[in-house]
Assembly symmetry: C2
């Protein structure tokens, strides 16, 4: 069971806290007066950088929101005021997909890029990758940071990296087969899409010696039904991880797969707060993940409201890592939840139910508001030669049974629902 | 006028030769008995690695051809016998486009990948790039090595790198504008294609502060008419360079632009031989470029027949570099030449004539054999609102005047000829 940096991954809680506090003080020292965004923010909050010496002091710092970062970008275009160094110090540009608004741009220095790679080294080593592996990356390498950070993590781990941009899904499968790829990183959706393309093209996935799949970008690898489906189609072990462009890759699943993801606590300080009251959540309680990163001096994040819902599990893990875990991974996003007839519904809950049916190739969910009550309707696209009506009824019954709702379930003709290479968009709200 | 490594770039000839010989001896020492491909090849030729101590000894080594490298790949798939280390030592996979046959696969170790980046550092610094620049890379990052080596070169130079994969040409233009890109690397064809898309979309290229364009992958930046066209449309200085997946990036244009490209002589030993007789060509004589690389120990190349035609110019350059130059860059490929009615015709000669006409958006050349004589026909696609017949006649007249041939010139409807993001394929031969 390989570690990326065993000494750091097995520190005692006291040692870990001392490490975090040392890094935090060093970070704040470098930001004070240099980073315009945080210098102004702390001044407005009436907090001095030097007040923050220990983890217990952290709560004096104001929270940071994504809209503040976007606003900081408008103040000083194109890269914004969250910059600790002059622009010439930066060597990497990335931006978010911008599907929910203005793309957020982030810059990295050689040092912070090395830090990104170190975090990804933990993700890949956690999944059991070594220099023996051949890692296939099936994406086109636009400005989204996840692609590039995987490359840097693979470099630091010494794994052979095979770039799969600029070709279609079948060409990617063929290249993986020719080269004997043993591992792949992509969204859970795209792993299933590749399997669908293989099936429809008469390509035998068993011809590719993939043993590990690593996923991010959306929930899925943490949902038991989706995870099982990926593992079964690929004949591989499926690993979850989570991160964000403005934060870093902060958590990953170890080979022991204890039902959650480890937080890279040497590089991040995490808090879990009730999104309404900002009260600290106890272990086991679900709340919003608040994150402070410790190694991205050029574009830092202090107490960032991720919008991700998590539940901490500090119990020891059989893998030997002392780092705390997100039980069940990232459970969803606070703003993804919809209320249908008084019931809280998360997209991930629906996915986990629909993916139990291996006949389902794709699906789409629409929430419509009629009066004050919502209506949930689900379209499913089924594999060829499926008994459509039986499957449709079984899905409807399962959803009713588990969600306590009676969504309308309809069968869409094969090939009509959208397919995704990146983050999937399956959840739609229609107007009142 | 920035250097990448001034001391090395201005060595005297004697110092340079001593450096090359030291690196050559070290390379051969590491290959002997470890690299199966070259160990077998030298044994078959009856040459001992230890015989080669100086540049004068080099001619005892047999030449290496591309077909031998492809064959070595078939002998030990998927990566072949040209490997000095066990597979776990390698971290990067790339392959050639394979348009002219089986794709050739190449692996790099961390050390040889750093070497690739160093060579690209010379290319980018030679074009005047610094940490002040914002370098846009408009490609999708498949397994072609040029994309990735540019990223590594940019990293070593400290330039801000903006990856432009996974989006169409207009989206790329918009991102370049938003971010204030100052430099771009791509094929000459794609630089002109982006300009065409801009014109057709009402996008003003003047809104992008590009000051430098760096080109490779095909001739163009070394052809005066194409270079002038790129410089005029982009309002930028246009730089040529050359390299190959199995060789490295071996030559680049400096800011003085003396009408040719400098050879990175600290990393490559070059010879120019008559392709028929293998006799050494004197400076000024055109011959085939034979290349030995000195820093890619894991996948080395000794006396490789590139198929590229070059002409050496050892005269001092005003930029201060002592490295010899390819006069006019890579002049063409030995196997690209066709004989039409007894006249030797190179695709690059036709391009340089056709590109003088700024009305030409794209063109395609077909060589057909009728009996023993060839026929040349050229289709041109003209910008909207062009006086087609006048332009057609002017092109035909120029070709006749300069080539001594009477090719048929026809006007193709707008948008019907293929466009290219990668290497263009404009030269076609039809059967007898």
């Amino acid at each position: 069971m390989p570690f990326f940096d065993q000494a750091t991954e097995t520190l005692s809680r006291a040692e870990l806290q001392a490490l975090q506090e040392r890094k935090l003080r060093s970070l704040l020292e470098q930001l004070a007066g240099r980073n315009r965004f945080y210098t102004e923010k702390l001044k407005a909050a009436g907090v001095a950088f030097t007040e923050i010496q220990a983890l217990d002091d952290l709560s004096r710092l104001p929270l940071t929101t994504k809209s503040e970062l976007v606003e900081a970008q408008h103040v000083a275009p194109p890269f914004g005021t969250n910059a600790t160094f002059p622009e010439t110090a930066y060597t990497r540009f990335h931006q978010t997909s911008g599907t929910t608004g203005t793309p957020l741009r982030v810059l990295d220095t050689p040092e912070s890029w090395h830090w990104w790679g170190k975090c990804w080294g933990h993700v890949l080593a956690g999944a059991g990758l070594t220099a023996e592996d051949r890692l296939f990356l099936p994406f086109s390498f636009g400005p989204f940071i996840g692609f590039w950070a995987t490359v840097e993590g693979s470099r630091q781990l010494g794994t052979l990296m095979i770039p799969g941009g600029g070709r279609d899904s079948l060409q990617r499968l063929q290249l993986m087969k020719e080269l004997g790829a043993t591992a792949i990183c992509c969204t859970p959706t795209y792993a299933l899409r590749l399997a669908e393309v293989a099936r429809e093209s008469g390509f035998d996935l068993g011809d590719i010696p993939i043993r590990v799949t690593v996923h991010a970008g959306e929930p899925g690898a943490n949902l038991p039904a989706t995870k099982a489906r990926i593992e079964e189609t690929w004949g591989a072990k499926c690993f979850d991880h989570a991160g964000a462009s403005e934060v870093g890759a902060h958590s990953f699943e170890c080979e022991a797969q204890p039902g959650g993801t480890h937080v890279i606590e040497s590089e991040f300080i995490i808090e879990v707060l009730d999104p309404e009251t900002s009260k600290v959540c106890a272990p086991g309680e679900t709340g919003e993940l608040i994150i402070t990163n410790l190694g991205r001096i050029g574009y830092p994040i202090l107490r960032y409201r991720t919008g991700d819902l998590v539940r901490l599990n500090p119990e020891p893990c059989v893998c030997g890592r002392t780092w705390t875990r997100f039980e069940g991974g990232v459970l969803g996003r606070a703003d993804d939840m919809v209320i249908v007839r008084g019931v809280n519904v998360f997209p991930s809950a629906i996915e986990n139910l629909v993916r139990r049916f291996e006949e389902v190739d794709e699906y789409r969910v629409t929430v419509s508001k009629r009066g004050e009550l919502g209506e949930l309707s689900i379209e499913v696209e089924l594999a060829k030669n499926t008994d459509s009506e039986n499957t449709r009824q079984a899905i409807a019954h399962t959803l009713q049974d588990k969600l306590g709702l009676r969504p309308s379930v309809t069968v869409a003709p094969h090939g009509t629902l959208p397919r995704f290479e990146m983050k999937a968009k399956r959840f739609h709200a229609s107007g009142r």
